[in-house]
Symmetry: C2
Subunit: 532 residues, 2 copies
């Protein structure tokens, strides 16, 4: 694909195709439906298929190809020592540990010749019999694609839902066939699970900690007894078991939230990460920011308040600054340790060297191990938003936090400019759709800051407090204007833009092929088959 032409601009994603009564295949249905509406600009369609079986065979085949290459390199290397070389062998059983010993190169080559026709047959079967009620539709014209993605196509919203096609590389194929109602129900179920997780995650962790005390462990897992009897291990475990459970939970949480977001039925990776990022933001704001502020303030002075209830406002005003120290340290730690690790990239370096030593056999393996990852928006953005919220809200109570916040974002600009431009490789292009998501949260932080300020000044009985009343109102008006004026164009392409002429005429066949998933690649599937 040439740089100027982006395949997804010529395509739309169609979901909720109604089941046809006249025994037409989905492919025929899609073709006739869109050909009637767009007789001149309709190009072709790819019906989403249930690819699980094909993908399994394809992965097995790719794995075999990789192993043949690796075995040949090992064989070649061995020739340098001994001119005849040692043909590499392995056992066919579990993990190469048991079973018959075979010559690797021969074995895998034989397997490849077996699998190739099997894959072709499976591809044909999938294309014909496993069509799902979703499709990618291609137009010869960017304006038509952009307008189609914004228009209602059928009289019922739960049929023929048409949206912008995501990039081929970020399509979540397994989500595409989910129906309108399934998506709606899944969404609310996921929201409920996330709500429960955010509010009550301490309960399962507490339960686990309660059950994994040392005596319980000894009773349930008797084989651990000798280890647990060592005094030092016992001390450490006794002290840190609950914390370990918490750390494991916090480490797994982003992955869990991403899994939940994908379970909602979202069609693209970027959208799923955005959804996960939103969920993670609520989690850290509620637990780190609000948790520490309220917890630290109220629980410390609970007894005093019980004795003299009227003192609550003074207590609040007096003890809020106490948490400021915690958050000051929190922000400082984030940029000292966080940016240090980020810039030095020590963790990926260690992992790379470990991989190269023990796993990599071929040039390709080394390259793959060296490959930098994606930026990981789903956790980075909520963290930055949290720092912003903390800095803003505590700027009135403990203004010392401001230089720390400024250093965090200033250094962050320098560090991440470098990392983004020269280190990370983006996994997808979402055309800036993350920005409205962040902008809303920045404005929410601003509003929270203004509310805190009002409350704090009120508690301190500052005379000119009413002067700042217009601030939150202006923030609300500003956010309303922004959402009215700008947000829509992150969602849908303006036709004015889509109608700009391209430098070259797109080759529609390449555009079309770029959307075929690798396991269904048409290299060997004849063109007629695709039009079933």
């Amino acid at each position: 694909m040439s740089a100027g032409i982006r395949a997804e601009q010529f395509a739309v994603l169609v979901r909720d195709i109604p089941s046809s009564s006249e025994g037409y295949s989905t492919k025929q249905q899609v073709d006739s439906f869109f050909r009637q509406i767009y007789p001149e600009t309709y190009y072709k369609s790819i019906v989403v298929t249930e690819n699980k079986a094909v993908c399994k065979i394809y992965e097995e085949l790719e794995d075999c190809k990789k192993k043949v290459a690796r075995a040949e390199i090992i064989y070649g290397n061995s020739k340098e020592v001994n001119p005849e070389g040692v043909r590499p062998t392995h056992r066919t059983g579990l993990l190469g540990l048991i079973g018959k010993k075979v010559d690797s190169i021969e074995y895998y080559n034989k397997k490849i010749t077996e699998l190739t026709p099997k894959l072709e047959a499976a591809q044909k079967v999938t294309l014909k019999d496993k069509q799902q009620r979703s499709a990618l539709v291609f137009f010869t014209n960017r304006v038509t694609a952009a307008a189609a993605a914004q228009s209602a196509h059928a009289r019922m919203i739960d049929t023929w839902t048409v949206i912008d096609a995501p990039e081929p590389r970020q399509l979540l194929w397994t989500n595409l066939h989910k129906t309108f109602y399934e998506r709606e129900v899944r969404q609310y179920v996921v929201y409920f699970i996330v709500f429960m997780t955010i509010c009550f995650y301490m309960i399962p962790i507490g339960l686990i900690s309660a059950f994994t005390t040392l005596p319980n462990l000894r009773k349930l897992l008797p084989f651990l007894k000798p280890i647990l009897d060592i005094t030092s291990v016992r001390t450490v475990l006794g002290a840190y078991l609950p914390q370990i459970a918490l750390i494991v939970f916090l480490a797994l949480l982003p992955k869990f939230l991403l899994f939940l977001s994908k379970a909602e039925g979202i069609p693209s990776q970027s959208h799923a990460e955005r959804a996960a990022s939103g969920k993670y933001f609520y989690f850290i704001v509620l637990n780190v920011f609000i948790g520490v502020t309220i917890g630290g303030t109220l629980f410390d002075s609970f007894k005093d308040i019980q004795k003299n209830p009227d003192s609550i406002t003074q207590k609040l005003a007096a003890s809020l600054p106490g948490n400021a120290t915690f958050f000051l340290t929190f922000v400082a730690l984030k940029f000292f340790v966080g940016y240090g690790l980020e810039l030095s990239r020590i963790v990926p370096l260690i992992i790379f060297h470990l991989k190269r030593k023990f796993l990599c056999k071929t040039e390709g393996d080394v390259k793959e191990a060296w490959l930098p990852s994606d930026l990981g928006y789903a956790t980075r953005i909520p963290n930055d938003m949290l720092i912003l919220t903390i800095t803003l809200c505590y700027s009135v109570i403990a203004p010392l936090i401001l230089p720390f916040g400024a250093v965090y974002f200033g250094l962050g600009w320098l560090v991440f400019r470098n990392q983004v431009l020269k280190v990370y490789v983006p996994k997808y292009e979402s055309y800036g759709k993350m920005w409205p998501h962040m902008h809303v949260r920045i404005l929410a932080a601003l509003l929270l800051f203004q509310a805190t300020m009002l409350g704090y000044f009120g508690v301190k009985q500052f005379l000119y407090t009413p002067i700042i009343f217009p601030l939150p109102i202006m923030t609300i008006i500003f956010s309303f204007v922004c959402s009215k004026k700008f947000y829509r164009f992150f969602q849908s392409t303006a036709l004015e833009v889509a109608s700009q002429e391209l430098k070259e005429t797109p080759n529609m066949e390449i555009v079309y092929n770029s959307f075929i998933p690798p396991c269904m690649n048409a290299d060997k599937v004849p063109e007629e088959q695709l039009n079933v």
Copy 2:
């Protein structure tokens, strides 16, 4: 225009056209913008112009034409008495009472020959110099028009807003040029005024009544003294002055709300009436339903409650049925008197006969006087919704209201089926856009009913009250499903529908001409002029 082809399906309304920096006219701007996006289906555009001056001349001209016709008929009639006839004359001054006496036929014919070239000149000037930043754009294709109305055209929402074109006959030309921000600001200002009107309308009425007491009237308007000194007049006025102010207010309110809705910058008559209907609904629900219920219940027993505050729940439960009688009478009155007047059409009949006697001179005048009006959705629908709300809410407290409600809607079906099919002439076709508006209010009434029921059962300490808890939840889910599933298609045309083939090929020139306002009618304006 043939029955199968509706002009508005080929057109879109474009607003917020940005001012061009290169000195192009709006017409040129619109043409180049849309021709770039829709090179094949773009047909032509009509730029909205400031028509006030032209319309004034046009109306004068039409008035003269009507008067000539009338004078000729009077002259013809006079010939039956006297073979030579009496040429009708009139005075040119104020209301035909003072000034020079002239021969009417000659005078008006001369005026017509004067005005016709003046109109043509004014039309040319308007087309060239009074272009406003709004236009009607025509496509040769219904699918393109439907898709364009649903798509974002420019990167900023406040430029090139494209929406479905309303029917030509219901376009509010003077609203079209209002800019995005003007519309937004106007909307909120109008909402605020309506809110103030609904909540505090009693204050100005009270003030007026307070100032228009008899002694004040006598002082301020001394020439009324002789009338006010008659005892019977004094008694009636003294007793009814405040009520008269209220009645005048209530009679003018729908017109005032329609005026406010139009002031919001709404582009079509049907939309403005829908908006006025919504505002009127809030007014009558708040003032009739809630006002009477709360007022009647709480104010009567206010003193008892003051003495024994715990008795409030029992008081409420005991006195709610008291209002039931009022509402029962209210519903009965509505259908006895309301439907009687509706069916007999006595008021329009009287007005027609008065008009025929004193105003109508020509056949056309009589026809015009006889012409039935529009149904008047803006007041009828809120009234029906009010009856529905009352019937539902009081059905638990006083089930006797149910047969009255059933009779109201049953008779209403019979009466209005007849009236709608055989009496009234619709002024516009809104493609059922009133339905979601009503549906939301029906569901709101249902929810209010379920809440009242819960509260009433709670007050009466009915044991099985919890059984009905799922009802409001189910109502909310149902309304959510409906809004998700159905409402969108009242707003925008499904492309599937727009792509259905028409029985005949549309004559684009007729479609185009049907949108030209009568005062700008191109009969005499050469075609080149329209393309300035």
